[in-house]
Symmetry: D2
Subunit: 304 residues, 4 copies
């Protein structure tokens, strides 16, 4: 489905899909269609979720779930009322490294998690047109790490503080956004953590996480792309992961396999609209903390 029907057609042909349309209504009215994937701009998510749910379509929606927490609450209500499934596109949960990390933590290999540390660096900023509607670095970028924080720490975030600056992309000033930021988090278990977000990793796509535990510590995050090292008089060099499609190729595939698999088996996806809302709450609170220069307690403002 694409309002530009030619674009819908060309993608359909590329993917070997037999039907395409410019109208989302065609999909909603088609009783042969069980589920929809919502990969539109964030400001359209809320309405599309509402309509899809009322037409009893199961939903896969890209992150963030909605633009704000109120929209998220309304979406969750409609999803529940219509008893459809909803999976949110936090694909990192399906990355083999993050899954193995979660497995090891659950197996007790690091004891109790006490500190979470994450770095997400993009190789450059998206264009101003994107940044303008992105919701800012915390909602657009660090939200992935907030979800990972909840996933790996097995705990809810209870407070946030944030700092950041424009280091390279001066155009962001207009949108009250920054290209480098750090979030400090505390968790319901008493643990703490920090999350760095950056648009300035000109060297590649740099995604790392650490979980310090009482009995062991866990690192995720190779920066290496091809498994080839070149050695010469200048040293030993390997290439770096250029961007997210290379880093999360398997994860994007596996999250879709999981979605379809859950539909077939009548099971609930492992990452739902509730996870979407919780990560959104952290991001919204962080944005508030950044703007006010004060810590924000989530329990004060969050009523699930």
């Amino acid at each position: 489905v694409d309002p530009l029907v030619e674009r819908a057609e060309s993608v359909a042909i590329e993917l070997g899909v037999k039907r395409w349309t410019a109208s989302v209504e065609d999909v909603f009215h088609d009783t042969n269609i069980d589920a929809v994937i919502i990969a539109t701009p964030t400001n359209t998510h809320a309405e599309l979720i509402q309509r899809a749910a009322r037409y009893k379509k199961h939903i896969f929606v890209e992150k963030p779930l909605t633009q704000d927490v109120q929209e998220a609450d309304e979406a969750i209500q409609t999803i529940h009322e219509n008893q459809v499934s909803c999976q949110v596109g936090f694909m990192r949960r399906f990355d083999p490294a993050y899954q193995e990390a979660k497995r090891r933590i659950l197996a007790g290999d690091i004891g109790e998690p006490i500190y979470f540390k994450a770095i997400s660096r993009d190789p450059g900023s998206p264009p101003p047109a994107f940044i303008k509607h992105s919701g800012g670095i915390f909602l657009d970028m660090s939200i992935h790490d907030y979800d990972m924080a909840r996933y790996l720490m097995g705990a809810e975030v209870t407070s946030v503080a944030a700092h950041g600056k424009i280091l390279v992309n001066s155009f962001m000033e207009e949108f009250n956004d920054v290209d480098q930021a750090i979030t400090y988090l505390t968790f319901s278990t008493g643990a703490a953590g920090d999350v760095e977000g950056s648009r300035n990793a000109h060297y590649g796509y740099d995604i790392r996480a650490e979980v310090v535990g009482t009995e062991g510590t866990l690192f995720i995050g190779s920066l290496q792309h091809h498994d080839v090292h070149i050695l010469n008089r200048k040293g030993c060099t390997h290439d770096l992961i250029p961007a997210f499609p290379e880093r999360f190729k398997d994860a994007f595939y596996l999250e879709m396999v999981h979605f379809i698999d859950c539909l077939r088996k009548g099971e609930k996806p492992s990452v739902t609209e509730v996870d979407g809302k919780k990560a959104l709450e952290i991001a919204v609170a962080t944005k508030c903390a950044f703007e006010t220069g004060k810590s924000v307690t989530l329990s004060d403002r969050v009523k699930v």
Copy 2:
């Protein structure tokens, strides 16, 4: 196709394939079938290639091409006479690391290749029943490295010498086979190299290669499986690649994509029956060198 039709059926269902049979004739006679994959024991390759080619089926055949060089010559002749395509299952050529290595070598990043070094270690020996008909470590295992030697060095092997021993699997004595071997190679360009083959890497599946060049040197071969490190008082640990399906998952997929893609475009595969024969010749010569304790010159015995 499987002589045990129940096995054919269960695999067909697993893969969503609509037809299955116990008789290879059904495939050969079906004019809707353009190509066949021969993944049977090595001693059946020659006959199946002959028949497939005569029925004008394109052929994907697992390595080694045939049992011996005479069979290979006959297969090549029939393939050529019937103008069908043939791709040999040297999947490493489609592994992203080996492809990147080849690309870098062709780009001149290491100057002229002067030394090739490879290690292939299996986590354990196949059972005696397999070893018995395997042709021995050089034909069954090191043949992958001989193909990589030709591919990465951009040269033909001109002589071989070999040494080896049984270090763990005493049952191999019965089959005149060894579980650890080294091949010394010289190349048409004046370069040299060595290839270690081992069945004794109880720690995992360990596949590495190096190409020393006049201007740079290139290493391939991470042993790491998941991108997760666990740190505790005992040190920092990552898991290891357990076996070939994990190491060459992408390569197995990509070689099949290439085969089909070539058929669609009417192009010749990048690794053909001729490559299959040349690797076989090296393996046969190496086996001879090992048994006689003398270097064997390939140009003496090889007439393509």
Copy 3:
């Protein structure tokens, strides 16, 4: 020199030094002695520096320079009036990795530094008796990273914010200290950075730094101790650096070589009382930022 003369004696014998004493006066009055090393508790630094300088002894003093900024100012004045040399024990400046990093930055290899990131994790907390007089995690521990921030970024710190928690060592509550903390820094060049300090790295001594630049980025910090990897069914393991004497063995030696070398050549050490004071100012400001929950601007409170 040790007030317990037996301890002075035993160390002197161990080191092959021919004289020892319980009285620092003996050293000050000895005109054959050119320089002193002050490695006493921090609260004695100021007085010892004052006296050493008045006796015209050159000074090597362990970090932090003094307990507070006023003491530092007075020490600097006396050092200058008496025209003696003073080197502060920021040994990381002499670590080969940090020196190479500085060399590469000065060579322009990473362009302009825009972000500094450091992690310093101790394998465990010192005992309560030490923590009580340590000045807290920012003055005792992160001060090394503040010095590295100035050194590697080639800039002064202009503001700080800080967060932290007790995650393991509940006894610290009594001393208003924490065992995990993060400092957010801005620099005179417009750059920013963060510094993590932790007493909870039960896995070893973990010291890392990154400098993100406009043209390249630089990582320092191997966690590996011996250059030995053990591979078995559990994975591939290397040991970890257990504590600071192993990590900074060369640096401790080289800082002393530099001190003596400067004295011999009549040159000023590369890290002086002024660097000592500046790192102290950052640490004091960070402690204040942590206690108030607000950013602290250094230019407001610092008059050099």
Copy 4:
């Protein structure tokens, strides 16, 4: 001591040594001198060892012990008759990585060693004048790996085979030497191994070893020099160890500490004239194997 007294003088001044001479007799006759270090060309070792031993001087001698096995036998006899200590300069035994490897093997961490693999690559060839008198790649270079083979495998070498070629340095033809060689070894325990020697590692000094055991496998050999990684659009680069003084700085120091320590305590060094002879025997046998193209059994030719 140096026949060129000016050279002796300048080194003495550099090292703060108070006496120097052009005559080795001055040393032998000086009863205050307990021990000598023989770091002269290999063809002078035998005579100097003989004389030093007769003057009751303890001896540290660079590898190889002597030029041939007969000289070695005579040296050993004289050393024993005069009851002096002799340590041979196999400094790798004092390298912290090799020592840790040995410790882990003795602790049973890899079970029984079954395969030894070593690579020693120099960044380039020494000049023709050196190669001429070097004894060739097996005696000059691979001898270090033969000693490590004995040390790490805890076994004697029982047979050798060898292959090699000139790949870069055509001048070596004149001296019947090669710049790339491989030795295949079998051990008294039934284990096997291979040793690569090369003069063609233009990228740096590349020393690696592996011991495959029945329960675990052990790798030694980082190629990294400074602990600094530079990341940019070209990838992630670290520098490489340029030459042996950087790689074995600690080992050269520690072997001398051990020598002096043993003298002080009246203990036998951990690596003696007997180890020197055994490594020499392997090297001589390998040279013979290379020249004849046949395996050489050491038990046939060696009577200790």
